[in-house]
């Protein structure tokens, strides 16, 4: 009950809430931006033909949700994003770790990756359409390509950055290849790999929007493109909003996932 007891207890509560505070702030900043936008539109500071008020976009958004139109397009885009991430990310993960662990694999694959990495992924779209046609294949392929490079590069770097002493420990305690992969290489590189996935999924989102604008009859990219051609500006914003929301939720979700699967990393700044 004494003052000496009260002060450290209060301090502790403050440090414990740092994480909560960060989360609250990351939710508050986009809401604040929307508020400013709404006010600017209502008071005529911006041209509502190009920048309709969030409330009117929300009204259209609500309408599209009721009709199920928005859900259909969003779901299709998410599905493509998901399969692209799996099909691009998993091979990248395995290849990247193999490259990090094995000098020969690295020597063989490194030049190929270094040569293809700088090609703008959007420039591959015509080729993807040519090979995979207008169906799902070309969309998923585009996402996969976008996810593949950051993950493979980060997985390699992640493994190479693991302190050599841990590999020595594995060797000393007779860890076989399989165990070296599961108990040392993968967990040791995981923080860097997670960064690769975050980057890759961000690129995947960009590519899915582009791919759906050109060669698709569904998805959020298609929705935005067709809204442009019919000058349904609110609908266009509804599509943009959904893409932004997906991007935002994915970032938040991946950060949460990282906290769960990398529990051994000290909190930043703690």
């Amino acid at each position: 009950m004494s003052l000496e007891n009260a002060i450290p207890a209060g301090r502790r509560r403050w440090t414990m809430s740092l994480r909560t505070r960060d989360r609250l702030l990351s939710l508050a900043s986009p809401i604040g931006l929307l508020l400013v936008w709404e006010l600017a539109a209502r008071f005529g500071f911006i041209d509502t033909r190009f920048f309709p008020a969030p409330s009117s976009i929300l009204a259209v958004l609500g309408e599209m949700m009721r009709s199920g139109e928005l859900a259909t397009h969003t779901f299709i885009s998410l599905e493509r994003l998901f399969w692209g991430t799996i099909l691009g990310g998993l091979p990248a993960l395995v290849l990247g770790i193999a490259m990090g662990l094995n000098r020969i694999v690295r020597a063989v694959l490194d030049p190929i990756i270094a040569a293809t990495y700088p090609i703008p992924k959007s420039a591959i779209l015509p080729l993807a359409l040519l090979i995979f046609g207008l169906g799902e294949g070309s969309k998923i392929f585009m996402v996969a390509i976008g996810v593949f490079f950051p993950v493979v590069i980060n997985a390699t770097t992640g493994v190479l950055e693991i302190n050599r002493i841990y590999l020595d420990v594995g060797k000393n305690f007779k860890a076989n290849r399989w165990n070296t992969f599961w108990t040392i290489a993968l967990p040791g590189a995981l923080p860097v790999i997670m960064t690769g996935f975050k980057l890759g999924i961000g690129i995947g989102l960009v590519l899915i929007a582009i791919a759906e604008m050109i060669g698709a009859k569904s998805g959020l990219g298609f929705l935005i493109w067709s809204a442009w051609s019919t000058f349904e500006v609110e609908q266009m914003y509804a599509g943009l909003f959904m893409i932004a929301l997906i991007g935002f939720l994915l970032t938040v979700g991946l950060n949460e996932l990282e906290r769960i699967i990398v529990p051994w990393k000290a909190e930043a700044g703690a």
């Binding site: 002493i165 841990y166 020595d168 420990v169 060797k171 000393n172 305690f173 007779k174 860890a175 076989n176 165990n179 108990t183 040392i184 967990p187 040791g188 995981l190 990398v262 529990p263 051994w264 990393k265 000290a266």
Partner: protein, 279 residues
Amino acid sequence: MNDTIEQPLAHAADPAARSAAAIRLRELCKTFGRLVAIDRVSIDIQSGEFFMIVGPSGCGKTTLLRILAGLDAATSGEIAISTPRSDRPVNAMIFQGDSIFPWMTVWNNAAYGLKMRGVATPVIKEVVGHYLARTGLTRFADYYPYQLSGGMRQRVSIARAFANDPEILLMDEPFSALDAQNKLLLQEELLRIWEEQKKTVVFITHSVDEAVLLGDRIMIMTAHPGRLKLIVPVPLPRPRNLMDLQKAPEFGALVHRIWSSLREEVLRAREQEDKEAAS
């Protein structure tokens, strides 16, 4: 040839058990390109012996330990490590600096060797539980290394090595990164745990005090190339009280003797480095 036994051990309570050399090195050499790191080292380390190696930095003592651990290969020479029990791993190493996995809890770190060997879970539970208790880490079993101090992390490393129940324990300056108080505590703990089973230990240090406090015999190495200079037995009784021992006149005399021999080597190594830097 096999029955030539070197100096008898001060604490050899059971001579029969100690008659065989646990580690035999003959004319061991290791070169890196033109650099000779280890030059024709021949030693016999008895089973159950606490064997210390001191030498100036760059004398190849870490290289020697890594060869014993199977992490590096010798260039030439013979290594024989006796393995009376095939179900037991040959060695476990306690590394210099942080070597416990940051991504595993204290428990999983300590259990690592046993898990890699596919030991049954109930046995792992019992053995790891025992050594965590012996190192005072029971309460911290679910902690991650980043939540522990440097001294506690090194305790985990000790628990991990002992839990694996190897024939020999290899220690590469395990306490060099710790402050003086923690160092003394961990040295005492190490001896206490070691007294339970008296495993063969090869322990590298740059501290002459540490060598005398812990060792049965001390090998002094020369630098560039790393050769065996002298082996000094430490006839101090066990179990040892490190606090009292530090005040004992025998301790001071031994430290003085070893240090004067080592000093020549350190000075010679420094001279050589100066010459190399100048050329």
